[in-house]
Amino acid sequence: MTAFEPRRLLLSVAAPLLALLVAFLVTSLVLSAVGDPVMDVWKTLLAKPRPRQLVQMINAASVLYISAIAVAIGFRMNLFNIGVDGQYRVAAFAGALFAGQAWLPGFLNVLLTLVVAMVAGGLWAGIAAYLKVKRGVSEVISTIMLNAIATGVVQWMLLKVADRREGSNAIGTKRIPESSQLEGFQLIPGAQNRVYTLILLSVLVGLLYWFIINKTRFGFDLRATGQSETAAVASGVKVPRMVMTAMIASGAVAGLIGMPLLFGQDHNYGTTFQAGLGFAGIGIALLGRNHPVGIAIASLLWAFLDQQSNALQINAGVAAELVNIIQGVILFAVVIAYELIRRADLRLEQQKVARELAAQRPAPTTEGASA
């Protein structure tokens, strides 16, 4: 990384702000083209959230954060783990099944369940890693297939172990014992509900991600492979082994996605367990540019939009899915803005270098020669 430059900092803050503005304009255009009340929509979306909603927002963001980190681990080395969605569902099922047995008391049960979930997620991702390394199957395709397979396999196993309760159609694993349920923190004054205890897990995952990627040999190899595979190979990085490790690590982190939900809210894995978190994670990782802090901001924004959209149908008569359009447009706008800024930056840099060279050598003799 180059030294601190005010211009760079300004540009990297300008891009997301510009993207938000573009998303605002595009969404307003769509709304008015379709004939929906533009003002009501924005009033609802940008309303000040109540304490209860704020807690829900933080909870949702903490889960999305883990998901995005899982995706980002692969992204940093050019590995597209689209399969986070399948990995977290397999892992959440395995974890819930284990925790429900209550073989260990209280908090030990929680800790070991986290390990079980990580192993399950890692193993499921390991299939894709193995296929890529040994058989050259693109991880994009294999993880998409594994997502669909995970749906069937988890559904099948759920039916085998289901704990049916009277008067309910919902099926799920055995509930985890009271002693292992985590009641959460009372962080927001005036809110009845609590922030997940395992938000600590999200923080820990973020810190470890930052440390491993930026401060360890492994992280360096990972980034090097992502930036230039040939250079990495030349400097002695064993790419197949890196692919295995990074993919399994990504899957292991993906395994943790369901844990705050499991211990803080659902207390078992069933048909109503939240789905689609893996795909949201892809968008958030891209929005946060694979940076631990960027991802944190992006997941808060994502959760904010999701949460605020709940009232859209009632207050403005607009389907809540409008928020997906906004999220998608933000994503597009951010990546385009960063690309444009990168180009502008490059041009400025080139001009600067050219000026300095021209100052050193007043009379150019070789004209038109190219490198």
Partner: protein, 423 residues
């Protein structure tokens, strides 16, 4: 990041030695007949009689068409060097566009509506990846998010207050005409009903090919042939493919790479949208939220499976359509019958590895796996429905496991191209 992905150095086999000529059309015919023969044997041995019935084959074609169209879309854009994971989003836009146009202006307008819906998706992807040089996967993922959101938002807005419609689905849509070659279809039906080994199965396939075909299916067939002809037999196609192999070289020869890539991605969107139109107009006769069910991704997989060629893509989509059809019909029995097939294949592969390649570990592993599957087959009567639903995906994955080392994607696929930056 670049969508080109990592080359992990898994030993890639070179292209199979070309002794003499490439596969001719009659090779494909022989392979298809051989496959059919194996299925006929399986049907005779296990007594599961829905393995090759004209009903199952017709259902397979119905399921294969949208996947094939999505894959064809992927083929256009990837041949020009743009990875298109946004096929799913384009397809979703196609399902909605087709339904909206069909509700208001009739079934034929629905086809146009689907194409327009997909085109809009293609336009977004083209502007992002070709004009602005955004990473292809990133743009595709964003497009899938937007496509899903747009379709759900618009269907709630425009279908909810129509008679028979609701916030998540359209009223039932007008039908497109269907074609049946009367005499031929009936004649083949009597042959199929006679239950002569192998002959009846051939009759079943032929009957499915001439009975109750949607015009959209015929259009898809025409588009396949046209794509092959345009991309591999015209100067335009050569230039377009050169943009996917080596854009810098193409540029130096005076090809307007940006324009070709843009066109290819637009075409890709239109085809994926048409695939979506097939789902809402023909397959379901109604628009429903989440109707595509990941078929855009499957189309992409089918295209990769088909080695970025129309013939292979067709084979891939048929395979997927077929496995999906049999699991949807009498799934639990038919998939159970296939266990026997898998067991036999595994044992055969294992013996081959031991005897010819002298790889004891792999060979014995395969034989043990085969034996386990055989035990599964003989100790049960049916496969659980939840597991049979994964059969198309497992099959695709397995086929890729055995085939992917022979695949070769366009050399510059997924790389961001900017004009005048080659040195």
């Amino acid at each position: 990041m670049s969508a080109a992905g990592l080359d992990v150095g898994a030993e890639r086999l070179d292209a199979p030695p070309r002794t003499g000529r490439r596969l001719q059309w009659w090779h494909w015919l022989v392979i298809a007949l051989a496959g059919l023969f194996v299925l006929s044997v399986l049907e005779a041995v296990t007594g599961a009689n829905d393995i090759v019935s004209s009903g199952a084959i017709a259902a397979a074609f119905g399921l294969a068409v949208p996947i094939a169209l999505a894959g064809l879309g992927g083929l256009w854009s990837e041949r020009a060097g743009v990875v298109n994971i946004g096929l799913e989003g384009m397809m979703i836009l196609g399902t909605w566009g087709a339904a909206f146009a069909a509700v208001h202006w009739g079934a034929w307008a629905g086809i146009i509506g689907g194409i327009v819906g997909g085109l809009i998706g293609g336009l977004i992807h083209a502007i992002a990846t070709v004009t602005f040089g955004v990473d292809h996967i990133v743009s595709g993922v964003a497009l899938n998010i937007i496509g899903l959101g747009v379709a759900k938002y618009l269907s709630a807005r425009f279908f909810a207050n129509l008679p028979g419609g609701g916030p998540t689905q359209s009223p039932s849509l007008p039908d497109l005409p269907r074609l049946t070659i009367g005499g031929l279809s009936d004649g083949l039906k009597s042959v199929e009903d006679d239950n002569i080994f192998f002959v009846s199965q051939i009759a079943a396939v032929l009957r499915a090919l001439c009975t109750d075909l949607s015009v959209l299916t015929l259009l898809a067939v025409v588009l396949f042939v046209a794509t092959w002809w345009v991309l591999w037999r015209t100067a335009f196609g050569l230039r377009l493919r050169s943009c996917g192999e080596s854009p810098v070289a193409a540029e130096s020869l005076g090809v307007n790479v940006i324009r070709y890539k843009f066109l290819a991605v637009l075409m890709s969107g239109a085809l994926a949208g048409l695939g979506g139109a097939f789902l809402s107009l023909v397959a379901a006769g109604i628009y429903r939220d989440g109707q595509t069910g990941g078929r855009g991704y499957i189309g992409l997989a089918a295209m990769i499976f088909g080695n970025w060629r129309p013939g292979g893509l067709l084979a891939g989509s048929t395979l997927f359509g077929y496995t999906d059809a049999i699991q949807l019909r009498a799934g639990t029995q038919t998939v159970h019958a296939f266990l026997l097939f898998v067991a036999v294949v595994l044992v055969a592969v294992g013996l081959w590895q031991v005897i010819r390649n002298h790889r004891l570990v792999q060979g014995i592993g395969a034989i043990i796996m085969g034996a386990l599957v055989a035990v599964w087959y003989f100790t049960t009567d049916a496969v659980a429905g939840e597991l049979t639903s994964t059969m198309p995906y497992v099959t695709t994955l397995l086929v890729l496991v055995f085939a992917s080392q022979r695949l070769r994607m366009p050399a510059a696929d997924g790389q961001v191209y900017r004009k005048g930056e080659g040195h």
